[in-house]
């Protein structure tokens, strides 16, 4: 492929005590593509996400993002480099307003310290105004600008998922990791979500890696699909290639199939 990779994992393994969750993963994500990551429950998909975002440290192997080594860095160090994520079980700041949730995303792009906050200097005000403007853009992008003053926990399930995406987008990422974004959504909401994900890639030029169980969604949206099973990457390719891969079929349907 002519495009150069934005994220490269080589020989990445991760174990929890004696349990090997991921084994010798080689994986690349190219700029501005949409990659689907699938696999049965417990295959290690979310673990891989947690390694990319710094929530876990890989036991072995190297992860490079934008030609910088990121394994061993903490989440708060990785996010400013341009990786943002959503969570499988929505993790919003429930008591905060919708707008404040998105403003938190701007945290790593703002600088105001204690002195600036207390004195409310012109610089602080300007920065705050800019952050607010940016946050509102993200909210209108996911169609939630009218709910900006609503408490996050009062939003409907689908809206909460969208808010989580807006919050992640507010960190100005280059790579967005979506952990089961369609989980719990009805077919209509899923179609809207597919549109939204495409827009994020096309309009914002953000690369996307998504974990998803909804096969219609994964196959419909991904340009490339990677399959994990028992901590190993068993297949990688276009949706058609993966769908016809015997090992993948076996992983999903069992040995006899």
């Amino acid at each position: 492929m002519s495009r150069h990779s934005i994220l490269t994992a080589t020989g990445v393994s991760h174990s929890f005590g004696g349990l090997v969750a991921l084994e010798d993963i080689d994986f690349k994500i190219y700029q501005q593509e949409i990659v689907g990551l699938i696999g049965p429950n417990g295959a290690g998909k979310t673990t891989l996400f947690n390694l990319f975002t710094g929530h876990y440290k890989p036991t072995e192997g190297e992860i490079y993002f934008n030609n910088q080594r990121i394994n061993g860095l903490k989440p708060y160090q990785i996010t400013p480099k341009g990786i943002a994520r959503t969570f499988q079980n929505i993790r919003l700041f429930k008591q905060m307003s919708v707008l404040d949730n998105v403003l938190i995303g701007q945290h790593c792009r703002t600088r105001t310290g204690l002195v600036g906050a207390v004195l409310r200097t012109p610089r602080t005000k300007k920065e705050e105004a800019r952050a607010r403007e940016h946050a509102m853009e993200m909210l209108s992008f996911v169609n939630l600008e009218e709910k900006k003053d609503e408490k996050a926990s009062n939003l409907s399930y689908g809206e909460q998922r969208r808010l989580e995406i807006a919050r992640a987008l507010a960190t100005d990422p280059l790579l967005l990791l979506l952990d089961e974004p369609a989980a719990g959504m009805n077919p209509h909401e899923t179609i809207e979500l597919i549109k939204l994900v495409r827009q994020i890639r096309d309009q914002m030029k953000i690369t996307i890696l998504l974990i998803e169980h909804d096969m219609k969604m994964v196959m419909g949206i991904s340009e490339r699909v990677a399959v994990l099973n028992y901590g190993k990457m068993i297949a990688e390719g276009t949706p058609q290639e993966v769908q016809n891969n015997e090992e993948v079929i076996r992983a999903y349907l069992g040995e006899t199939a």
């Binding site: 708060y76 945290h107 919050r167």
Partner: protein, 301 residues
């Protein structure tokens, strides 16, 4: 003008408000359960008293010295303990509080078990009112800034806060430092009002009392801290005749609050609220606006 008795009550309400406000930053906004807040108060109290006694420094310098001394320990205790969560942090802060108390009890410079005597009386109503206003102003500004949002995000979901690029350890230490600073300020005012310090005044029960003020008023609500501090300062005074029952009443109030109104008397102010957005201040604001409108209206006519 004001009888000495009421003056003392008002001053104590003020000092307790500073304590409750600063503790609220730690517990109510950042969600870190600290039950050693009286220790920071005692550090500020002893340090500022000693600065006044030995170096005869101006009051403001002693106060700031005490506050900075407490803040230093707030940061120091924060570094090893803030990786702990919930109950574990509570126990660590409890241990810290006891260490401070026992050290003060055994050091010569603090007067040991006899206590520290002869501190000049410098705290006046004006000092206390100013200190309360400055504390409230600064904490409110912090809460309504990017830093305050980060603190509340940590309370709401630390994992998600990390993922948003918030260095939660840094902000927790910052919040402990700021909280301890103002607790130390309250301690300095207390020392120069009481003129006598004894480690007993800053024991575990004192920390619990301050915790009660925050919980009673409402976690994460600045006005609540004021209300809680006022009630828990004035009511015990009125119950002086049944002093032995005071702790029992504290306990009962806590249980009752948790059962009936866990969000405190005023409740948590809406998202990211400091003083504004809160029904009480909104009420004041609309009142003000109305009267202003009336005045400008009558001017026109």
């Amino acid at each position: 003008m004001i009888s000495p008795y009421y003056l003392q009550l008002i001053i104590l309400v003020g000092i307790n408000t500073i304590m409750a406000l600063s503790l609220n930053l730690i517990i109510g906004y950042t969600g870190q359960l600290s039950i050693g807040h009286a220790a920071f108060m005692s550090l500020g109290a002893y340090c500022s008293a000693l600065l006044t006694l030995h170096f005869n420094l101006p009051f403001i310098v002693s106060l700031l010295g005490g506050a900075l001394f407490a803040a230093f320990f707030g940061i120091l205790i924060g570094i090893p303990t803030l990786k702990l969560k919930g109950d574990y942090l509570a126990i660590a802060t409890l241990g810290f509080g006891e260490i401070v108390r026992i050290v003060c009890l055994n050091l010569e410079i603090t007067g040991g078990a006899v206590g520290l005597r002869g501190i000049p009386k410098k705290t006046t109503l004006l000092w206390v009112v100013l200190a309360v206003l400055i504390t409230a102003f600064i904490l409110n500004r912090i809460i309504k800034s990017r830093i305050g949002r980060a603190l509340i995000a940590i309370r709401e979901d630390e994992t998600a806060a990390d993922a948003m690029g918030i260095n939660s350890t840094y902000y927790k230490i910052l919040c402990f430092g700021v909280g301890a600073f103002f607790a130390g300020l309250g301690g300095g005012l207390f020392a120069h009002y009481m003129r006598f310090l004894h480690p007993k005044s800053f024991d575990f029960m004192k920390s619990i009392e301050q915790l009660c003020m925050v919980v009673l008023g409402g976690l994460g609500n600045m006005w609540g801290s004021f209300v809680g501090a006022t009630i828990l300062t004035v009511v015990p005074e009125m119950l002086r005749s049944v002093a032995d029952l005071r702790l029992l009443i504290y306990g009962a109030v806590l249980i009752l609050m948790m059962r009936v109104r866990p969000q405190g008397i005023l409740g948590e102010s809406p998202a990211n609220g400091g003083f504004k957005n809160n029904s009480y201040s909104q009420w004041i604001q609309t009142r003000l606006k109305k009267s202003l409108r009336k005045r400008s209206g009558s001017d026109k006519t």
